[in-house]
Amino acid sequence: MDNERFEKRMELLKKSYERVPSTFDPSKVLQKLEAETKPADMPAGKRKKINQQVMVWVVGIASILIISLIAGLYVADQKNTDEEPVTSDEIDQLMEKLKKDYEVEREKRRVLLKLEKQDFDKYDSYDPFWMVTNGSTSSLLQDGDPKGRLMQFYNQGVENLKTPSEMVADLKSNPLTEDKEGSLEFINAYREKVERLTAIYNEILQENNDLLQAYEVDPSLDKAYMIGMSKGAFPERLQNILDTMKEQSIQLQSDVDSYGEEFFTKYYSSKIHEQIVPLLNPDTRAYIDMMTEAPYIVAGELVYPLEESVEMMRGMQHSLTNVEDNSALYQLLETYYVTMFNTILRGTEKSPVFDEQGKVKQEYREAWKNMASGSEATPLRYVMMPIVEEMEESGWTTSETLNRIGYDALKDALVVQRAGQLEMYMYGEQPVFPDEEIKVPDAAFEQKIEGLYSSFKKQYDLAVLEGRSPIDIVALYDLANKKNDTEMMYHLHHENVWKYSESGYEMSLKQYKASWQKALSLLSLSDEISFSGEDVFRNDNLLYGTVNLSRQGNVRYALNVIHDNGIWFIGDVTLQKLPSYEEQPLTEITDDTMKNIVRLYNQVSEDQNGEALLGIEPMSIVALYYYAGFRNDLDTLYKLYYKGPGSDLVGKEEFIKTMKPSWPRFNELFTSMSFKGMEQDKEGNWPGVATLHVNTEQFPDYEKTVELRMIWTEDGWRVKYEPK
């Protein structure tokens, strides 16, 4: 499909979106904000059976781990210590004070969590001053900054105390979107605290299990939910945790099995949790998602539908391959990733892969194809592509690779990818392309290209192009255009450009010739042509790159090139056709036109560099011109005038003094317009004419049509200044 057609389709689609219906009512949002403490909605239907398989961290060890992780984040204030050495008494005094302060902080959290002392001690069993308490005061005194060190212990202790909700509040003040490592540290610490709390809550639930079992609830309602919403129905210790756990994004759930109903607590996707996600680095997303989504498999069955499970796996893959980490959390995510993969590959007892005819079921075909899809080298693609290919060949009955593949195949592929080798395994060694740059015009270069032209012209043998640089190919293409050699231009494009043409049929040379329009010579408009080997990227088995044509340091054109089996080809490109070909048919000026023009006007009037005007169609320039006049915006008006050779445009100051447009609104003054480019004139300019039809009903004194002369420039069409 050619670019122009594609752009047109996108333009039409954009207009369709204006018809998206709206039911938005701002007052409803304001009402919800005012009622922010409204409890969470009751979940509809039956809860899924979630097995309480939570990996429990040993609290004491985890506390130490947390301290070491957060030490880097919370460095104690290094007070400017005195020149005189610190005495043991001073240290003792400071420590007493800090211990008291620490107790205050502890009590604050105990009250926040509404835990009784014996329960809270399990939450915080860590003594931040244990090193000193155990008689290491003397070693502390030998430290360069003993007071600073004590403050560090204190701060670490306070960080360890912070509840999950407090951690979220801190995160809001200091988002970690740019910090992968920091995000992972946050997730580790946050997760550990949630698990500390759920362990305490679960113990309290177990001790009160009889009361919970005895609590009566309408059978059609979710009992765990109703207990969670209860007020004053249970003894204080239990009621307190039921009242406060939601603030930590933890909720009561239950699981029914042959022994009865079991109550437990679990982290869930609360409003607080939703706040965390956009504040962390997006590459760590799967780690935070794991908190609400795990476990993904229960009793050998997928918890989520196949399609969703595949998407989750893709998310895991992204985090596993983009975040350097060797922690236990990584191991956990990797385990889920590999287990889910094998479950989707082998099927489950309740959902086998093969149907009664021995063919892979449709939902598995879709899931497998999804895993094999894409254009990059990923572990999933590496493992699944041969399986899908073999299955498709056999009518979805058999695959040799599937029969041979081991449980750890995906994990092995992940290891290879993290070593940066997977692409090579899949596609072979990627050639290294050197950077290139040529200043033009260059007589020797032009001669070389002429020679290449003659060689290739003989038989269009692709071997002639083997090993040629992409710059040579682009220059050859440009030369063929200059010589009106459509056949050569056709052969220089990669075959994919024709295979995927707009008609749905492979575009033939005959069709190409019939639709061809000569373009401006790119090299003539440039003073440099360059290529960056580093920017080459893979798209399945092809490599894509860009050749840039620049003028005065600015890239004016970027041509897509495709490397295939040692040869560079031209990709799908749109050259700047001769301005004389430019034509826009008679078009009605509507309210939509005005909306687009106003938007464009806002961009243009803010833009200091003239970039907003690049590539704008001539009729849009005309509309902009009249709108700027209507707004009496002389700055923008001046931008739209042609200033090149032969222009009669006065200096800006004089223009601003003398110009007083005060024109009517564009869509009131005109009803329709068209544009036509003209042949190059004697001065070497490319002129064009916009014809605008006046709304003579509203403006009977005006002529029926207005012609606005324009001139093409490399930066786009501009209005010719013709003072009356």
């Binding site: 499909m1 594609f6 979106y17 018809r19 938005f24 509809a44 239907g45 740019e178 939703e274 539908p305």
Partner: protein, 185 residues
């Protein structure tokens, strides 16, 4: 009142100012959400969700461009929508009866007057998110490359590359929808 004033007032708790801000941008959110794949029936809920979240994040808003913030939050809301949508789909299929008489036009019919526009929209929604979002922002939201890079935390060259690849993929998809057979010439 200009936008920075509205934001400042909303940050100070002025609900009327926030209401005006919402009125200025709700259409942007609705269209963007739909372009990202949210169903028409759910646009209202997702839009509401976006503005509720936006309000909560207002205290953190500093000198960033407001629309950058708005697009980021809308994007997250649509991602969450996708996750919930998959899970809820089964329940909906059980409980929702077919309310539509086949002779009545669906809500989508009023958006897409031509079948090829609907097909293009669906092809775009099927693209991998990393290609789809930059394409949408560029073509349908008129966002500059730099702003897209800010919204998606990418570099500008990466944005251009993604848009280029998205176009390639979309063109391929459009061709295969049209038939794709060689005419043998």
């Amino acid at each position: 009142m200009d936008e920075s004033e509205l934001i400042a007032k909303a940050q100070a708790g002025d609900h009327a100012a926030y209401g005006e801000l919402m009125s200025n941008y709700y259409r942007t959110v609705e269209k963007f959400a739909y372009q990202c794949g949210v169903r028409l029936d759910d646009i209202g809920d997702v839009t509401q969700e976006v503005f509720i979240k936006l309000y909560r994040f207002l205290p953190q808003f500093n000198q960033q461009r407001f629309t950058t913030w708005l697009y980021k939050i809308t994007l997250n809301a649509t991602r969450d929508y996708y996750r919930k949508e998959g899970r809820e789909k089964e329940k909906r299929e059980k409980f929702v009866t077919n309310r539509f008489d086949s002779s009545e036009p669906s809500a989508e019919d009023q958006v897409f007057l031509f079948e090829e526009d609907r097909e293009l929209h669906e092809a775009m929604v099927r693209l991998d998110e990393k290609y789809r979002i930059p394409l949408i922002l560029f073509y349908f939201q008129d966002v500059s490359y730099q702003q897209i890079a800010d919204i998606l935390n990418m570099t500008m060259p990466a944005v251009k590359t993604r848009i280029f690849r998205a176009k390639e993929l979309l063109k391929k998809e459009m061709i295969s929808q049209a038939g794709g057979a060689s005419n043998g010439q």
